[in-house]
Amino acid sequence: MLYAALFSLSVLALGGFVYWAVDILVERQREQTVQAELQGLVGEFRAYGLPGLTRAIETRLAPERVGDGIYLLVDGLGRPLAGNLVGWPNSVEQRGPWLVFPVERRGVDRAEIHTAYGIEFPLPGGFRLLVGQNTQSATRVLDAITDVFLLGVLAMLLLAIGGGFLFSRNLLRRIEAINKGAERVRRGDVGYRMPVGSADDEFDRLGANLNAMLDEIGRLMSAIRSVTDNIAHDLRSPLTRLRNRLEEVAAGDRPAGERRTAIEAAIGEADQVLATFRALLSIADAESGAALAERDRVDLSRLAFDAAELYEAQAEEQGIAIEREINEGVEATGNRHLLFQAIANLLDNALKYGAGPVRISLYATDNGPRLSIGDRGPGVPEGDRERVVERFVRLDSSRSTAGTGLGLSLAAAIVRLHGGRLVLADNRPGLLVSITLPVADGEIAMSAVRRT
C-alpha cells in the first residue's frame, strides 16, 4: 500500500513537471511566433504602407490558413480596418510588453472565451497594430497532458493495489507453508520437509536451507542415537562382569586370597568403565571446542619424539620396531597434552592392531605440519576407513583386542579441534594415519601454564 502511494505520488510529480515544462515551452513558442509575425507585418507596412499592411493581414487570415493568430489594425479613432477582432479589446491587462485579453472564438458548437496574448505596435498617423495569439491550442495540449497523467495515475494505483494484494497474499501463503512445516516438524514429524519450488527465489532458498538444517539435525540425532546404543552396549558388558564378580565376593565362602583377586578384578572392570567414560568426555570436550581456550605454541617434533620414546619400550617387548623420521623444529598451535594424547592413541593403535615396523614421521609442509603413523598390519579396508573413526566402531578382526574403541575417535576429535584433518590411507600393506594441522600462528601470547 505504502509503495502504491509513493509510486502514485512520484507519477503525479512527474506529471506536474511535464505540465510545467510544456507550459513554458508553449509560452516561449508563442512569444517567438508573435514577435516574428509583428516584425513581418511591420516590414510590410514600411515597404508598402497601410494598404500593404492590410493586404498582408488579410492574407494571413485567409480561410485556408489555420492558426491561433490574432491581428487587428485600427485607425486613430479606434475603428478596426483589418483583422479578426471586432474591436480593440476592452479589458486589457498589461504584463511587461504583453497585453493579456480575452477573445471570443467559435468552438465546436458554441462560443468559447480564450485568453490571448498580444503586442501593440503604434504606427504613424495614429494607427495601431495588435498582433497576438490565443491560447486555445496550448490549453488543449495542456489539458490533454493533465488528462493522460491523471488517468495514468489512476490505472497505476489500481494496478499497484491489485498487484500488491496478490503479491503479498502469495508471500503470506508461502511463509505460512513454511510456518506450518516447522510446526509439523516440531510436533514430531521429523521426516517432514519444506516445499521447495523451482523458482530458486528467497523462499525456495529458505525452504532448502531449512531442509538442509533438518537433515543435519536428523543426522546428528541418529549419530547420537547410535552412540547411545553403543555406549549402552559397550558399558553393559563390563558392568555385567563387575556385577558378577561382586556377587561372587558377596557369596562369601571363599578363601581370602580368592576374594581379594575377585575384588581386584572388579576394580579393574570399574576402571575400564571409567576409562571409557573419560574418553567419551574427552571426545565431547574436544568436539564442543571448549577445551582450547588456552592455546600455546607446541613443539610437535618434541611431542612426536617423546611419544615414540614412550611407546618404544613396549614396542620392543612386542618385537616391533618404531622407526622415527621426525624433522626438528616443527611447530603447531594448540594444547600439547591433547596433541600428545592424539599421537599416543595412534601409536597405541598401531602397536595393538598393526604389525611392525611402525613408522612415525613428521615434517612441515606449506599447508602446515604433517604427522603420519604407518604400520604393516592388516590395515583397514577402504570402505571402513570413515567408519572406524566413529565412536565405538571396532572392526570384527579387532574385537578380541582390549580397548575402548574410542582411541581413534578421540585422536580425530582432537585434530579437528586444532583445525586439522585426520586421514586414513593404505600403507601398502598396513594402515597409514596422517594428521595435517594448520600452520602455527605467528604470534601467540604464551599463556602462563604452570606444569606439575
Binding site: 581386584e264 574427552s282 571448549a290 588456552e294 594424547q341 592413541n345 602462563a448
Partner: protein, 225 residues
C-alpha cells in the same frame, strides 16, 4: 600428616578420611568453602584437599584467597571438572596438583603424600640415596653398592622421581606427569615396560629388590623389602 579435607559430599569425605587414616594421616573436615578457608587460614596443615564446586565459596576462589594471604600449604584440587582447561585453571589459581573425580584412593594418597613431602624437601639436594642406591644429581650418575649403573636420560628422570618419593607410592599418572610432562590418558600401561627395564638395571644384579609394584596403585622405591 595433618590434612584438611574441604568437601561437601559426605560419602566422598568419609571415603577420603578413612583412606587417609589407614595410611596414618589425620584428616580435619570442612563442608563448605567459607568454613574451609577459615580452617586453612589457621594453618597447621601439611596438605589441603579441596573440591571445586563448594557451597558458600568455590574451590578456585578459596585457593586464590589462601595464596593471596600467603598461606603456602600445598593444595590439591579434587574435581569432577576434568577438562584440560579446568586443570590449567586450577593450577593457575595456585593449586599444586589437580585430581579428577572419580579417583582411586591409592592415587589420592600417593598425591597427597607427594605434596606433603615436597614441602619438607630440601631444594638444594645434590644427591639422593635409597639403601645402597645412590644418585648424583650434578654428575648425573647412579651407583648401587658402589657399582656404576648406566641409565638413559629418561630412565634417570624416572629413577629420580621414584627416589625423591622413596617409600611412597608413585602412581602411573604421576610418573607420566612428572617424568614425561604430559597429562594424558594412556590406553595401555606404557609405564610398566619402562619400570621393568629400570628394574632390570637397578635390581637384577643386586641382592634385595628396591623397586616394587603396588598392585592397582603404582610403584614404590623402598630399601627394606
Amino acid at each position: 600428616m595433618r590434612i584438611l579435607l574441604i568437601e561437601d559430599d559426605r560419602a566422598t569425605a568419609d571415603f577420603m578420611a578413612k583412606a587417609l587414616a589407614e595410611h596414618g594421616h589425620m584428616a580435619d573436615r570442612a563442608e563448605d568453602g567459607r568454613d574451609g578457608l577459615y580452617h586453612a587460614s589457621g594453618g597447621g596443615y601439611d596438605v589441603i584437599v579441596t573440591d571445586r564446586m563448594l557451597p558458600a565459596l568455590d574451590g578456585l576462589s578459596l585457593v586464590q584467597a589462601l595464596r593471596a594471604a600467603h598461606v603456602e600449604t600445598p593444595i590439591l584440587i579434587l574435581s569432577a571438572l576434568g577438562k584440560v582447561d579446568d586443570r590449567v585453571q586450577g593450577l593457575n589459581a595456585g593449586a599444586d596438583d589437580y585430581l579428577v573425580k572419580p579417583f582411586a584412593a591409592s592415587e589420592l594418597i600417593a598425591r597427597i603424600e607427594a605434596l606433603g613431602r615436597r614441602q619438607s624437601r630440601d631444594a638444594t639436594e645434590t644427591s639422593l640415596a635409597v639403601g645402597d642406591l645412590a644418585m648424583d644429581l650434578l654428575a648425573r650418575t647412579v651407583t648401587r653398592s658402589g657399582k656404576r649403573i648406566d641409565l638413559q636420560p629418561r630412565e634417570f628422570r624416572l629413577l629420580e622421581c621414584l627416589m625423591r618419593h622413596a617409600g611412597q607410592v608413585v602412581t602411573r599418572t604421576m610418573l607420566l606427569e612428572n617424568v614425561w610432562d604430559y597429562h594424558f590418558d594412556p590406553q595401555t600401561n606404557v609405564i610398566e615396560v619402562h619400570i621393568s627395564r629400570l628394574r632390570q638395571k637397578i635390581d637384577r644384579d643386586f641382592s634385595g629388590p628396591l623397586l616394587h609394584t603396588v598392585r592397582g596403585a603404582g610403584y614404590v622405591l623402598r630399601a627394606d623389602a
